[in-house]
Symmetry: C2
Subunit: 203 residues, 2 copies
């Protein structure tokens, strides 16, 4: 996860920008000329600092009823468990981003064409949009290939680290994922995650 | 479309950033400490300038076989026709963003809960991800409410401005949309758009 160490940082920092990217002059907060809402902008050169959500991509790799989990090796949420995930970068498709993050965190390489879309969710509370794919792959033994991952394991629902989740708000969704894998049915969910609730509906 | 006048600008400008947002010092290009790829960063304070795609949201409003089009009142693509669309902002869900953009461009207000997800597409060539919703609404007469929109019209496929499309690469997708509306079938597409091709598949 290339940007793992900065998972929370860019948003916080983006709210605290002080200088213009283009000319280095101090930014001001107000309604820029021609705009309709308050933003940070540069009165010197006209640069407007738009704040747009970033896209978080994830790939759920499964073999029967077992799902691939990673234990995080760096903050935020160091030592806790999550799905392989990270931020989409410029110049890649959603599937390429998911495949890249999976390989970076687990060493497992899966073709982008093997990915099924399963979730599109707004995480408005952290200004992110979460896109989740699924892919089937044999439950091989995997060793972490980067220090940012401590463990990589295929785990059944009963073995999963529910008390050590890096992002506890994902639990209902992960439970639903296990249930879907048991049933063999496909579903694609549209939803919204927050700290406390999940709203997910079938598309 | 709040950010219409800057539709292409932020990406271009983001590639040309010169000064650190946080301390105003010049940025350099290289592999920042702890990272694995070249980025722009600030050797003075450690700020790393990540480049992530932005999310473009759109809402296709339809009544029977007629679909709501807008003629753009400002550049890029001034005077040409497109779907109501714009960039998702922080602090909103995907549906809220689509509803906001629709109202800003057409004056038409539709509840976010009425929206069906129909397309998720990577636009890697312009570092955007495109999320399209659909909603049914009576084909009322609409007058532009902002100067950035010149005309707002419900048009059948035979009436649609195929020779005056703001984004010609959307034509195959819009034709498929009309076809779907005629058939009454639902579909959710995952794909990738580029200048010349569209890859779309059912989810």
């Amino acid at each position: 996860m290339a940007a793992a160490s900065t998972h929370w940082r860019p948003t916080e920092r983006a709210l605290a920008v002080a200088y213009c990217f283009e000319c280095g002059e101090p930014l001001v907060t107000g309604v820029p000329p021609g705009e309709d809402r308050k933003r940070q902008y540069c009165p010197a050169c006209g640069y407007v600092h738009y704040l747009n959500p970033r896209i978080l991509v994830s790939c759920i790799v499964h073999d029967g009823e077992r799902v691939l989990w990673v234990r995080r090796g760096q903050d935020p949420q160091k030592n806790l468990w999550a799905m392989p995930a990270g931020f989409m970068e410029n110049d890649e498709t959603l599937q390429q981003a998911a495949v890249r993050e999976l390989e970076e965190e687990t060493g497992l390489r899966i073709p982008a064409t093997d990915l099924d879309l399963v979730v599109l969710s707004s995480l408005a509370f952290i200004n992110e949009v979460y896109v989740v794919f699924e892919a089937r792959h044999e439950a091989v033994e995997l060793q972490p290939v980067v220090p940012e991952t401590l463990e990589v394991r295929f785990l059944a629902e009963a073995e999963a680290p529910w008390d050590e989740l890096a992002y506890p708000y994902t639990e209902p969704y992960m439970r639903r994922c296990y249930q879907r894998l048991r049933s063999g049915e496909k579903e694609m969910l549209l939803g919204a995650f927050s700290h406390n609730i999940q709203q997910l509906k079938n598309v």
